[in-house]
Symmetry: C2
Subunit: 238 residues, 2 copies
Amino acid sequence: MVKGAQAGPAAAVPRLSRERVLSTALEIIDKNGVEGLSMRGLGRALGRDPMSLYHYAANKTALLDDVVELVLGQLVIDTTDTDWSAQLRTVARAFRDLAVAHPHVVPLLVTRPLATPLGLRPLGTLRPLEASLELLTRAGFSEVDALHIYRSFFGFLQGHVLNELQELVDNPEETDALLRLGLQRLPLREFPRLRSLAPVLADYDGAAELERGLDILLAGLQSQLPPTGPPGIRKATK
Amino acid sequence: MVKGAQAGPAAAVPRLSRERVLSTALEIIDKNGVEGLSMRGLGRALGRDPMSLYHYAANKTALLDDVVELVLGQLVIDTTDTDWSAQLRTVARAFRDLAVAHPHVVPLLVTRPLATPLGLRPLGTLRPLEASLELLTRAGFSEVDALHIYRSFFGFLQGHVLNELQELVDNPEETDALLRLGLQRLPLREFPRLRSLAPVLADYDGAAELERGLDILLAGLQSQLPPTGPPGIRKATK
DNA sequence: ACCGTATCTCTACGGCGTAGAACGAGTAGA
DNA sequence: TCTACTCGTTCTACGCCGTAGAGATACGGT
């Protein structure tokens, strides 16, 4: 018998690795949603016994945290950008792009931090926080203010994608907005406003809405929290 | 034999009802989290066969939607308030109070709308939307602007509670902030800012943070979207 | 006394996460 | 060359899960 063993009816698999495990998990989630991912199914997809996965993650919840890391790791923040609000805008767009590219991961994105304590999360999920702090303190904000801004900013982003990715369409083959969204079920008496908004709801533009929100938020931050620190020479917008 | 049948070794149960089913489900979630709720466990808690629950909900996901309705139904909006931004402030505080009272329900609150199309959700979960639209159009906003404001507002609220309810503490019996949050695990080189923020992170004040955020958001909305409609005589803050 | 309906129970199926022990191949030391 | 050890993997098994399908029971109206 050959030693390499590269053949086989189901094509023997090359080798297992953390990367292959996690990216396959992400693929399954992208296709079938979080509920559609099981250790057994993932094992099947990798041509391995489910138990072999426990070499790469302590348990299923840890694996989910790692999937979050895999996605959030793609979010790059340029901490050397001297225009902090422009940089945040760029990050916001990148974050939205990620969410739109992986809508089924969004539940994990917003939900895992409620279960896993900060200090135990995969490092990749904490880098955006560290980088934001770096960016903002370099821009002259105090550490405390930097944290406030980070929180408003990512809170806003999470709220935005949760809004944008809401399930609206009930009946895709219908063309009339009201029927498409299934709003005809709502009692006319109780929900007149909502029903009359059907056409508006039906053509939500996420990218535009994000920009509008950013305008408000960044303007608000700029007026409430002028950079106080010494680092560079400020333009003194105030 | 008696007809009432009120006795029994495990004290026969009075009667099942939608309300009892849902409020027991909520209790279990409050105690054990969403993952801790199973149809079988819920049946056990009610002294009934699990299958009897399917008389009150089509399946488990519908039951979860109904739990969201049970919680969100407690959010009252006074659509007759002539000061829309004050009313939103009140609603914001009530929403936060609900989230703090039922932290384990928050994952459902933010996550179920991603799975259930608008038109198929329990009516109680849509009432805050309808009421907000009513409040804002009465205040003179166009329907479209009212929707925009609703979205920024609830997006902000969701972002806020997700921030506030993040799991931070790793080691509760520790007194030093860094160790309490488990941040000593983070490589000093890569996470200097985050580590130095440990004491600040450790005493997060959710209520105060909410007010700060509301200040920014409401001011922003007020400046970006002055009421345009005709209804009442406006105070013309502008 | 009867029936229809609403409520509830029984049984069973296929799937889940993962504990515990065993296995096989590869590597390093003797 | 033999041996000991490690690492990735697999096998088997346990106790959960959601829920389909069919049947039992209780009850309100006639």
